[in-house]
């Protein structure tokens, strides 16, 4: 009997310590943490930071410091957001939906980018490429499950009557994928800009499909913010969206400068970035409504991929994923 009492005591002690530790997690609110990825889709953020516009506006609302965190892929970024690592994210829309399905407390508050992806196949195979069925039995690298490239690519295969199992799909981050193709570990990659272009520039592969040919106008990246921030401090988010609109418009008229800034931030050669502008159909946006139809489609694909698990949950609607009110406010205040 004593043994059991002792066990019980220690179990309770351990659990109460755990509880204490968890409930004690507090965060200071005078600095903001923003996540992003080293892809041209997120140029608006890089420009806003480089020009100092973001910190200038946010200072007026009590934010002393902005901390940026770089992530290799969307799912990893959202995973960190779930853990409370970042408050705002420039991120792919697919991972946001996947996160919300698993309990992420966040919403999409603005659009960032459409299209821009490309399928690059090694030169020898590219010559014989006809359509999706040419990919059967090949090794292709793309972003991890739940990300937009993954979903778009899988949908591309399925729409053309091919099951992903008919090829060897390897998932990894952008630099790993480029490296894999350089080494010949994979026959092709499907990646966000500017990565596919690196392989074209190096003469290793050719572009055989782009977002335009696969799924015209599909949503890519968005700005997501935690519900906590949306409820407690919406003013900051409205300011962020306003700066985002300004930066997004800036890109279109200052391509040279945009190339320079991106190159500085990611160490990717300027010539490569320039080439991306030429070859890929990148489109920077700010209106979240442009993303809604494709994002809902992403939600459906994610649901299908995890049927067994999600069938007990309700499918997500636009209201579960988006909060447009902040964008509307930003637009009205700006113009």
């Amino acid at each position: 009997m004593d043994d059991m009492k002792r066990n019980l005591f220690f179990t309770l002690l351990f659990l109460s310590l755990t509880m204490f530790f968890i409930l004690c997690k507090k965060r200071e609110k005078n600095f903001l943490r923003i996540g992003y990825q080293p892809i041209t889709d997120h140029l608006a953020l890089m420009i806003a930071m480089e020009k100092g516009w973001l910190i200038e506006e946010l200072r007026k609302h009590g934010i002393e410091k902005i901390e940026l965190k770089e992530f290799p892929t969307g799912p990893q970024e959202i995973h960190a957001m779930i853990g409370g690592e970042i408050d705002v994210a420039y991120v792919g829309s697919g991972p946001v939906v996947a996160g919300i399905y698993e309990g992420l407390q966040a919403k999409i508050i603005a659009g960032v980018h459409l299209q821009g992806y490309a399928l690059v196949i090694k030169k020898k195979l590219a010559r014989e490429y006809k359509n999706a069925s040419s990919l059967k039995g090949k090794r292709i690298a793309t972003y991890p499950p739940g990300s937009v490239p993954y979903i778009v690519f899988v949908k591309f295969l399925i729409n053309n009557g091919i099951s992903p199992k008919e090829l060897s799909l390897k998932t990894m981050g952008p630099s790993d994928a480029v490296l894999a193709m350089e080494r010949g570990d994979v026959d092709g990659v499907f990646l966000p800009p500017p990565y596919p272009v690196i392989l074209v520039e190096e003469g290793i592969g050719e572009i055989v499909e782009t977002s335009h040919t696969i799924w015209k106008g599909h949503a890519c990246c968005v700005i997501a913010a935690s519900n906590e921030l949306i409820n407690k401090n919406p003013k900051i988010l409205v300011e962020i969206i306003k700066v985002h609109i300004k930066a997004t418009e800036y890109i279109k008229n200052h391509i040279e400068e945009a190339v320079q800034i991106f190159s500085k931030w990611t160490n990717i050669k300027q010539t490569t970035v320039k080439l991306a502008f030429d070859l890929l159909d990148m489109e920077w946006i700010h209106n979240p409504e442009l993303s809604i139809p494709s994002v809902l489609e992403y939600g459906r694909v994610i649901y299908e991929l995890n049927r067994e698990r999600l069938k007990r949950k309700k499918t997500l609607e636009a209201d579960d994923i988006f909060d447009i009110s902040l964008y509307k406010k930003a637009i009205s205040e700006k113009f």
Binding site: M4, G99, P145, G146, S168, T171, M172, A180, D185, N306
Partner: protein, 254 residues
């Protein structure tokens, strides 16, 4: 004995119930602390993947541990028995030994590309040194009196001495090394499978699926699966290998 088992089970059950309470009623965040009930149910939800994942991970494990045992025992015998070999190889091995298996991943991908072999290699780097070190410790430890007796009784050359005296003496050490190597090697399975070397495997599914889709209860279920398999392998090894071959150690150890 019965009493102990009852206490053990009761203690774990109490812990699980309290954890369930903590998770569902107090923390209410299944991502932070998945409730034990949903972790247990995960095994059922994952029934279509579990067997294939276990088999793939076992394949990587066998490649890694198998080659670790082969090379480790071979080199261990050489190093432990022949002083020249000891002097020659020992310094290099001592430098390589502390390198954590995960640090080998970039090299493994270059040498073996994204194949089952590269996964097996990571496991090899974990399992090799325990086997090597135990083997050569055992070989070095062979009492001189046994070697001299064997020589007197007609063991003609080094090979006979190694075969009839060295190895039998060192066998308990070798088995101990293999057991440790198996434990460390299994812990490397996740690291080995992170980089998409295959499309199944416990580590693969944990990192390429559960992590990216934030399916934490599935993740926890697989974490415990890893632990459980390790315990089982260890127990089986003890029972079917050590007990059988090491009857004579009963009087000497434990």
């Amino acid at each position: 004995m019965r009493n102990f088992k009852a206490h053990f089970i009761l203690s774990i059950l109490t812990f699980l119930v309290l954890l369930e309470f903590l998770s569902r009623i107090i923390i209410k965040n299944p991502l932070y602390l998945p409730p034990p009930s949903s972790v247990l149910l995960s095994y059922i939800s994952l029934r279509n993947y579990i067997v294939k994942d276990i088999l793939t991970s076992m394949l990587h494990f066998l490649i890694g541990v198998g080659s670790a045992c082969f090379l480790g025992i071979l080199l261990g015998i050489g190093i432990g028995w022949f002083n020249q070999i000891y002097k020659g190889l020992f310094p290099i091995l001592e430098i390589l030994r502390p390198i954590p298996p995960i640090a080998w991943i970039p090299m493994a991908i270059i040498w073996f590309k994204l194949t089952h072999i590269s996964a097996g290699f990571i496991i090899f780097t974990g399992a090799f040194f325990p086997v090597l070190i135990s083997t050569y410790t055992g070989m070095k430890d062979v009492p001189k009196i046994l070697i001299e007796t064997a020589k007197i009784l007609g063991a003609k050359n080094e090979l006979s001495l190694i075969r009839y005296v060295g190895i039998p003496y060192a066998l308990p050490y070798i088995f101990s090394g293999i057991r440790t190597g198996m434990g460390v090697g299994w812990m490397c399975v996740v690291a080995a499978e992170i980089f998409g070397v295959s499309d199944s495997g416990i580590g693969y599914r944990l990192f390429q699926r559960f992590y990216h889709f934030h399916q934490m209860d599935y993740a926890v279920a697989y974490m415990f699966l890893l632990g459980f398999i390790s315990l089982t392998m260890d127990a089986l090894f003890r029972r079917f290998v050590e007990e059988r071959f090491l009857k004579w150690k009963k009087g000497i150890v434990k």
